[in-house]
């Protein structure tokens, strides 16, 4: 096979957008649509000759028109359902040959259009969703990448096992998550999902199938993990797993964001909890969630740490709030909002059918449903910031001010992410802030969009304002996406970007794999 030399002018000298400046209003624009109609038919014919089916039906293409964010729209020319590494290898060889872009999609839960194809092929990885083997002794699972975390949990439970950490949204796929991170309420203990990976089978952008891990082809392993699908396609994954345990969950209530964060960080630093996170309903009503896998750990918490927390019990906090609203009766609407929100949300976090003796049996199912029910919208607007320990309070407080500017009601969700010293190389182009050591922190800013209709521009401006904080504080985000191209140079610096761009050019000569996600 001959890999073509891409004619000059086809790609700009640097496909990473020049830096965007603060103060200049930027709205997201979709990347330009691939204009390759001329070679498309020949490309499809070549694939057909190789027995790779390309679905061009309108209905099918339409399903992939946007991602969970709902703000970016693009139509692919055709869909390929992933079937095997061999099939994908053929696809990639042909795509290089004809210079046709290939966009990867798992659950499609990105929010900045990273899993939207602006022309070319949409490669739907959910076609590959079998669990290959569960090893309950070595505590590992080998799985295809298109499986949803929910299904993986379902399969593992039959053997009394569980995954370590996964996004709270279980319709995301294992492969897609490994490409971007994957933060759970137990990431303070286990780190992100990408850090649970022991080895991968991948297809390279030029169509080679290879196995990689910390020991085998480590340079590939480093690039693929947290690589946003830039450097290869994950076709099989070996993940660490653990014996299943139900979760013992407790909430503590705060009126100050800063106090809640300080307590969260103290608990994480001392590795007190198996699960921890902050969820806000309003600035005045902040919840610290802590959870445990065992009664023993729970007891240690209550014996040694509970007394040091500044947060109160539900009853105590409720009485304080009542006192406040009695003295501020003109804020009655606020009180009603809090009351309604609590009444609606909290039962869904502990539904009776998923509880047994005070323990939450299936956090996987419960959280996933609650997320969609209470925050789901046709536009999922969840910009985020990730920082080291020291910058976190400032980042959250600044983000909180931005939220106030745009929305009446919103939620902040904060979690710690344990880092692995030996995985520094994986983090290089990722959402993990370069200056974080040991643990980093992430905060998602989630507006409630039901109150009125927001224009696409308003929503994107809000997101940009949050991202600007990240640029200004020289920190990071959970994930970079299409529109993040504008930030990547300032966020990570020329040296890192140029290094990865050079690698990308070498590994993906036609620059066709997940084009416009970062490069």
């Amino acid at each position: 096979m001959e890999i073509p030399v891409i004619p000059l002018g086809e790609l700009p000298p640097c496909p990473v957008a020049p830096d965007a400046l603060q103060g200049i209003p930027r709205q997201q624009t979709n990347p330009s649509r691939w204009q390759g109609q001329a070679q498309w038919r020949d490309f499809v014919a070549a694939l057909q000759a190789d027995s790779v089916e390309v679905i061009e039906a309108d209905g099918m293409r339409g399903v992939y028109q946007t991602d969970a964010g709902g703000l970016a729209n693009g139509l692919c020319h055709g869909v390929v359902m992933a079937e095997s590494a061999e099939q994908i290898a053929i696809l990639m060889k042909r795509a290089q040959e004809f210079a046709v872009p290939v966009t990867l999609r798992g659950g499609g839960l990105t929010t900045e259009g990273e899993s939207v194809a602006y022309g070319g092929v949409m490669l739907d990885m959910t076609g590959m969703k079998k669990v290959v083997a569960v090893d309950t002794e070595a505590l590992t699972v080998r799985t295809q990448p298109g499986i949803f975390w929910h299904r993986l949990a379902e399969v593992l439970r039959r053997d009394g096992m569980d995954y370590l950490s996964a996004p709270l949204n279980l319709t995301s796929s294992v492969g897609g998550t490994i490409g971007v991170g994957g933060i759970d309420v137990n990431s303070c203990k286990y780190g992100c999902s990408a850090d649970q990976v022991l080895s991968l089978q991948i297809v390279t952008p030029t169509g080679e199938v290879l196995e990689c891990s910390d020991n085998e082809n480590p340079e590939w392993f480093e690039r693929i993990i947290l690589g946003y699908g830039q450097f290869g396609i994950i076709t099989e994954v070996t993940l660490r797993i653990r014996p299943y345990t139900p979760m013992r969950m407790h909430y503590f209530y705060y009126a100050s964001l800063r106090s809640a964060i300080e307590d969260l960080q103290q608990l994480d630093a001392n590795e007190v909890c198996d699960y921890s996170g902050i969820l806000t309903m309003m600035d005045k009503a902040i919840t610290l969630l802590v959870g445990f896998d065992s009664a023993q750990q729970e007891k240690i918490f209550f014996d040694q740490w509970r007394g040091q927390l500044k947060g109160g019990s539900e009853l105590g906090f409720g009485l304080r709030l009542i006192g406040y609203y009695v003295l501020h009766p003109w804020r009655i609407r606020e009180a009603l909002f809090l009351l309604n929100r609590k009444r609606d949300l909290f039962p869904d976090l502990q539904p009776p059918e998923h509880m047994c003796n005070g323990e939450l049996l299936d956090r996987t199912a419960v959280f996933s449903r609650a997320v969609w029910k209470h925050w789901g919208h046709k536009h999922m607007v969840i910009p985020d910031l990730a920082t080291n320990v020291d910058k976190f309070v400032e980042a959250v407080e600044r983000g909180n001010e931005v939220c106030k500017k745009y929305f009446k009601h919103y939620t902040l969700y904060c979690v710690g992410i344990r880092l692995r010293e030996d995985h520094q190389a994986h983090y290089e182009l990722s959402s993990i802030p370069p200056d974080a050591k040991g643990i980093s922190y992430g905060c998602e800013f989630e507006p409630m969009l039901d109150e009125r209709d927001y224009s696409r521009d308003e929503l994107q401006s809000f997101k940009n304002d949050i991202y600007d904080i990240g640029v200004d504080m020289q920190t990071s985000y959970y994930r970079f996406g299409g529109m993040m191209k504008g930030y990547i140079r300032r966020a990570l610096g020329d040296e890192v970007v140029n290094k990865h761009l050079a690698m990308k050019r070498e590994l993906d000569p036609a620059m066709i794999l997940n084009r416009d996600v970062i490069f």
């Binding site: 339409g62 399903v63 359902m81 499609g108 929910h150 439970r157 319709t171 059918e353």
Partner: protein, 305 residues
């Protein structure tokens, strides 16, 4: 229109994928177009685009309780299938007379109606309820919905009219149960599975090594109540239930018509479980399981004297 238009407003689908996550057809085939997610998204562009794929659904109902947008997915699926079917259901010949006012009637599923012996046994077991067979069983309607033929709305109306005066309906057809529940909400209704499994004589015989196979259509037709009911059954007997982590009933696909691999589905149902006996609520599941499983299979009535 059989169902209120706003209930099947596909524009409300925001593509969360929760329905696909639990859909057995999607798990087997991996084609998103054959899930409510794909069907709704494609319909948003052009309703014609779902013409073929909507018939892959086995109408198990598992997707329905999950939709965070409260789209009535069962009604959506049935309505879409009916709209694209070329085989109209002929006007009914049954149901000429309405059922007696204040009676308890039994609406049986097709498999049970075809098995006289089992039907007699079930009617005996319903003796304490003084139940009689409903004059119109509506099995032609159920068959039409299941196989994706056009539902004749006059016929459906006729069927529902016969049931209007009754006091209580005992039913073993989960599909009809969801239709009756939405159209005649004032009438008390109980599934046959729930009624029989609530008897103490039955519960005494159910053990932790038993795999209790719920009828997925009946279960999802009354999901909120069934959750609590089967939790209690589990607490009392510790039998293994055919539910997933979402507490949805995993179907066998016994009614499937379109290339659904029931054998693979049964393998999945039993994967990793230590099962000595399978107890089944639905006779259609019973037939399928006896064909594919090594373990002894009992129809629910067999555990009762």
């Amino acid at each position: 229109m059989l169902y209120p238009a706003e209930k099947i407003d596909v524009s409300r689908c925001h593509g969360c994928g929760l329905c696909a996550m639990v859909c057995p057809v999607y798990q087997q085939g991996g084609n998103v177009m054959r899930t409510p997610h794909g069907l709704a998204k494609a319909s948003q562009r052009d309703p014609e685009l779902v013409r073929e794929d909507v018939f892959a659904c086995v109408l198990c109902g598992a997707c329905a309780p999950l939709c965070p947008q409260d789209i009535d997915l069962m009604q959506m699926l049935i309505a879409m299938r009916s709209a694209f079917s070329h085989e109209p259901l002929p006007a009914g010949e049954q149901g000429k007379s309405a059922d007696q006012k204040g009676r308890v009637v039994f609406v049986a599923d097709r498999a049970l109606l075809a098995d006289e012996e089992q039907l007699d046994k079930v009617m005996d077991l319903l003796g304490h309820e003084k139940a009689v067979l409903a004059s119109d069983q509506g099995d032609d309607i159920s068959e039409a919905m299941q196989s994706g033929r056009q539902v004749n709305f006059d016929r459906l109306h006729q069927f529902l009219t016969t049931l209007q005066p009754v006091k209580k309906i005992i039913i073993s057809d989960g599909l009809l149960q969801s239709v009756i529940r939405s159209k005649l909400p004032q009438i008390s209704m109980q599934s046959l599975g729930q009624l029989l499994s609530s008897q103490q004589a039955f519960r005494r015989k159910l053990k932790a090594s038993d795999f209790y196979m719920m009828d997925s259509q009946s279960y999802h037709a009354d999901y909120q109540n069934m959750l609590a009911y089967y939790d209690a059954l589990y607490c009392e007997t510790e039998c293994q239930l055919s539910r997933d982590l979402h507490r949805l009933a995993i179907p066998t696909g016994a009614h499937a018509k379109n290339g659904f691999d029931s054998k693979a589905q049964i393998d999945w149902l039993l994967q990793g479980r230590k099962v000595k006996r399978i107890v089944v609520e639905s006779l259609a599941d019973y037939h399928l399981l006896t064909k594919h499983c090594e373990q002894p299979v009992s129809y629910i009535s067999e555990l009762l004297p």
